[in-house]
Symmetry: C2
């Protein structure tokens, strides 16, 4: 008998019919002789609707109360799901984050899990029940307050439960068949990947692949949880995200997948005095503005003793960083700021890159042949990222996908849904 | 400095605008120098919508899961209300039933309060916060489960908090100006009552007056809580529901008010053998069917050694009782069952009745002069109830209201709303 954690996102439980469908799937897994724990998100767009409601009452909702509000969302979906399972003749009980022992720090809206003590979940399993746990939510023991985990929180809940319960696998149900070599909506010949290491998955998620949230993948990697990303619309095997054992040698493809990202913008600080400490001053200001910067490029110093520094960041953080830098312009002594929100970021990920030279060269050649200009480059051990014009990104993805021999013989099936 | 508990029902917090209006009212009370605790219901029709959602997933939702589901309702309204208050510059924190220490027995859907330990509410007050508490919900310590209190639960929450915190008054906000001598929609000349004893209020509530729920009034009476029933649309004083001190003599009007009720039906068990124990058999079956019977009349035994037994009960319990009795017809040996859902019940309530003879006679005379037939009669120390045809009830109420000198000089203002 295996212990399986299953995660269903908001689009999988958007209405009563979807909930009944998901209930059937859970009952199948249970009747196949497994213990089943389910992490579930709020129904459809409930969370967004609750956020809108809060904003209609006050421009800046208090964090504590916003978390109290938002956690109503999973309370609804989990109770309905438990009812639906029970009506199929299988015992089920739902648990809030607090009841399931999801202990977090006290940061409202983006709490981090500090411990998981799923005593009641274990008792439910021992009593033969399916345990339904509210995704996205936790509890801080010191303050006694309810918290939420932020974006992708339900994935993290599922992975954290799988780790704490020592589950055999954590199944992440979504509206695509698994992880693809590229987004099939952009690259029609993208192929489903059967297996991928959590390290590669982490790079893909960080580079814009939206199927899994980076925090959940990090958690899975750190705690050795095996993920199975699969479709809630079919019984087909999806993609296994695994953690190779220490020293395990696996035959790895050079390139596992490609990710594209249109959500970032580029800030260029122009005419920065080329004296020690100026970059540090700039990035201290950027960090204080709360921005998550990604790629950084510093141009070679010009003959006038000044240089340009460019970096990318999520577009929704652009304005606050521009403002913060503007305020400090005279202190730092730079000449101006440029903001470019028409960039696209392409990332190539593959563990096999470590031992294969020539990947960058092949990438640059493919883009060059398609007349696509590269504006910035950054690399890690298993990833190469380049920035292009936004309107050339999709073409760049198709060209590179083909150049590295990733194209399938036929086109992938794309579902109508949009993920979580 | 007084400690005031305020209760706002679903219609008072139906949307963002209403919530902001209620927040202003709470802030006024706080800024006038009072400590304020608020019990709040779910927004508008949220509870009914959640029940519908449950029924769209399963015909018979499990009690535990239904309570988990429904408690999401107050979680939403209380968080929004706390945000709205904070945006007006007054600190506020919301608490679930569990966090506020509303301890109940383990009956899902109709839990009874067994203790109230509002430690966190007191701490919030000590820190200068307004404490917002979810109405309708509680927590069972033995099972660790969330419970709900059933119909009128938010009134009960407010009263229980007022008792536990030794509040100076428990204000019940509603969409009418207070308790009236009769329903102003039926009796246009009904007058607002300034003061009423909780004993009288209890009889009125039990007789169909809908402004307060009977359980809340019972709780207030048992724990000596003074209620102030008032309008959330005006600052006018409403009705004080008080508990006279032991031996206190108050100048009491003979009749305080009249209630009418069209929600009951009448079952007559025809031809019951007039032998000992038959009535007990019948009412055992009725009780097992879960019915709340109200008036009972047993006719004088006919010459054939058989008698008829009639009783009234809520219409929505009619079918199950008819079925239960039908199954036992041959065991008990009665001849048949009649069901009449076209009855109206009129109740006259007044503590002064105790010391004034002739109330019944005056009531019967007034109805006789209006040619209204009386079908059943029942009395308590401070109440007389009669059953009439449903289509004569409103006329009966107006006639009796006038006969006992309750008519106001002018007609009452009736708001569009319908109460909770």
């Amino acid at each position: 008998m295996a212990l399986i954690v299953q995660k269903f996102g908001g689009s999988s439980v958007a209405d009563a019919e979807s909930i009944k469908r998901v209930a059937k799937r859970i009952v199948q897994t249970k009747k196949a002789g497994n213990d089943v724990v389910v992490a579930v998100s709020a129904m459809g767009d409930t969370t967004d609707e609750l956020v809108d409601l809060a904003h209609s009452v006050t421009p800046i909702p208090a964090g504590r109360e916003l978390d109290m509000l938002l956690t109503a969302g999973e309370r609804i979906s989990m109770a309905l799901l438990a009812m639906a399972i029970k009506s199929l003749g299988v015992e089920a009980s739902s648990y809030t984050g607090s009841q399931a022992g999801m202990l977090t720090d006290a940061q409202h809206g983006k709490a981090r899990i500090v411990d998981v003590t799923p005593k009641r979940v274990r008792e439910a399993l021992d009593a033969g029940h399916v345990a339904i746990v509210a995704g996205f939510q936790g509890f801080n023991r010191t303050t006694g307050e309810i918290t939420t985990l932020g974006r992708g929180g339900s994935d993290t809940t599922a992975v954290a439960l799988a780790a704490a319960l020592d589950a055999d696998v954590c199944e992440i149900y979504t509206d695509v068949d698994g992880i693809f070599t590229a987004d099939p909506r952009v690259v029609p010949k993208a192929k489903k990947v059967d297996r991928i290491t959590s390290e590669e998955m982490l790079e893909l998620a960080a580079s814009g692949a939206k199927v899994l949230y980076i925090r959940a993948v990090e958690y899975a990697r750190r705690h050795g949880v095996t993920l199975h990303v699969r479709s809630s619309f079919s019984n087909a095997e999806g993609t296994i995200v695994y953690n190779p054992a220490e020293g395990e040698t696996v035959e790895e493809p050079i390139i596992t997948g490609i990710a594209g990202d249109l959500s970032e913008g580029k800030i260029t600080v122009v005419g920065v005095p080329d004296t020690p400490g100026k970059a540090a001053e700039i990035f201290t200001i950027v960090a204080r503005a709360g921005a998550n910067i990604d790629m950084i490029v510093q141009n070679v110093s010009a003959s006038n003793g000044r240089t340009d520094i460019s970096f990318t960041l999520p577009k929704d953080q652009g304005q606050s960083v521009l403002t913060a830098l503007g305020v400090s312009q005279s202190d730092i002594g730079f000449e101006g700021i440029q903001y470019d929100d028409q960039i696209g970021k392409l990332a190539l990920v593959g563990a096999g890159m470590r031992t294969n030279a020539g990947v960058s060269a092949a990438l640059f050649r493919a883009l060059h042949e398609a007349s696509i200009n590269i504006e910035m480059i950054s690399t890690s051990e298993i990833r190469i990222s380049v920035v292009t014009r936004a309107d050339t990104l999709n073409e760049a993805m198709r060209v590179v996908h083909n150049a590295f021999g990733l194209d399938a013989d036929s086109e992938a099936v794309v579902y109508a849904g949009t993920g979580r």
